[in-house]
């Protein structure tokens, strides 16, 4: 139902939200020795999400896990930590903006629908 209503945007919003969590985890672990920074491959995660919606199987998260990749650091640090705060900040900002954009698409859909229901 929600997939028909919002199209790709419902799934995109979920993936954006998940990516926000992953990036926040990286920022939280900026000083943890041996921590490997991760990021979500957005296109792959979105495809997996859409496939999961079509198959209507809730336990199909293998594709989503495959979309969670490790970052390659520009310069490796001595303690094995691969978080680079500037990159994480940039990715976080980009993701927040994209989340906002997706959210406004969803809101637009909802507005259209409410207007149609009210018959204004």
């Amino acid at each position: 139902m929600s997939e028909n209503l919002f199209g790709i945007h419902g799934a995109a919003l979920e993936v954006r939200s998940k990516r926000m969590g992953v990036l926040a985890s990286n920022i939280a672990n900026a000083a943890t020795p041996g921590y490997k920074a991760r990021d979500v491959d957005f296109a792959a995660a979105l495809d997996a999400k859409l496939a999961q919606g079509r198959a209507s199987a809730p336990a199909l998260s293998a594709g989503e896990d495959a979309a969670l990749l490790y970052r390659t650091p520009t310069m490796a640090s001595l303690d094995g930590n691969t978080v680079e705060l500037n990159r994480e900040q940039l990715a976080f900002a980009e993701n927040a903006l994209a989340y906002s954009a997706t959210l406004s698409f969803v809101q637009g859909k909802v507005n259209t629908l409410t207007r149609a229901l009210k018959g204004e």
Partner: protein, 136 residues
């Protein structure tokens, strides 16, 4: 996880902030003890360091952080010849804590920076969550 509650972005931020606080306190303690003197190498103050560990939460996919243990750095104290010192040993030496003040200051600055970064990320995330909630 440590307390059985599901990990959200807010608790992730909370844990990251307390971990940074421990780290900052450790560095501040080292600074406070810089220049402290003892009468033997064993009694001299050794700087402490907070070592973080990552905590993976499978259910939410978030990785929070905790300051696992405070470790004493094996920095040898500096031996100084000062026979007039009340704590001087039989040979007239005192042992000064091996604290590198500039390194500690840098540690505090880095910790503060990461703390700020986490708070900023949390604020952005909260803003987005509120926007999502308010949409009708």
């Amino acid at each position: 996880m440590s307390d059985g509650r599901p990990v959200t972005l807010f608790n992730l931020t909370e844990r990251a902030m307390s971990a940074q606080l421990v780290r900052m306190n450790a560095a501040t303690s080292n600074l406070a003890n810089a220049g402290s003197v003892a009468s033997s190498a064993d009694q001299a103050y050794r700087p402490i360091r907070a070592v973080f560990t990552a905590e993976v939460d499978r259910a939410s996919g978030l990785t929070s952080v905790s300051s696992g243990a405070l470790v004493r750095a094996e920095t040898e104290p500096t031996k100084r010849y000062d026979p007039g010192h009340p704590l001087a040993d039989r040979d007239g030496n005192v042992f000064e804590a091996g604290v590198d003040e500039s390194a500690e200051m840098v540690e505090i600055m880095e910790s503060a920076r990461q703390y700020q970064n986490m708070v900023q990320a949390m604020q952005t995330a909260k803003q987005l969550m509120l926007e999502t909630l308010r949409s009708k």
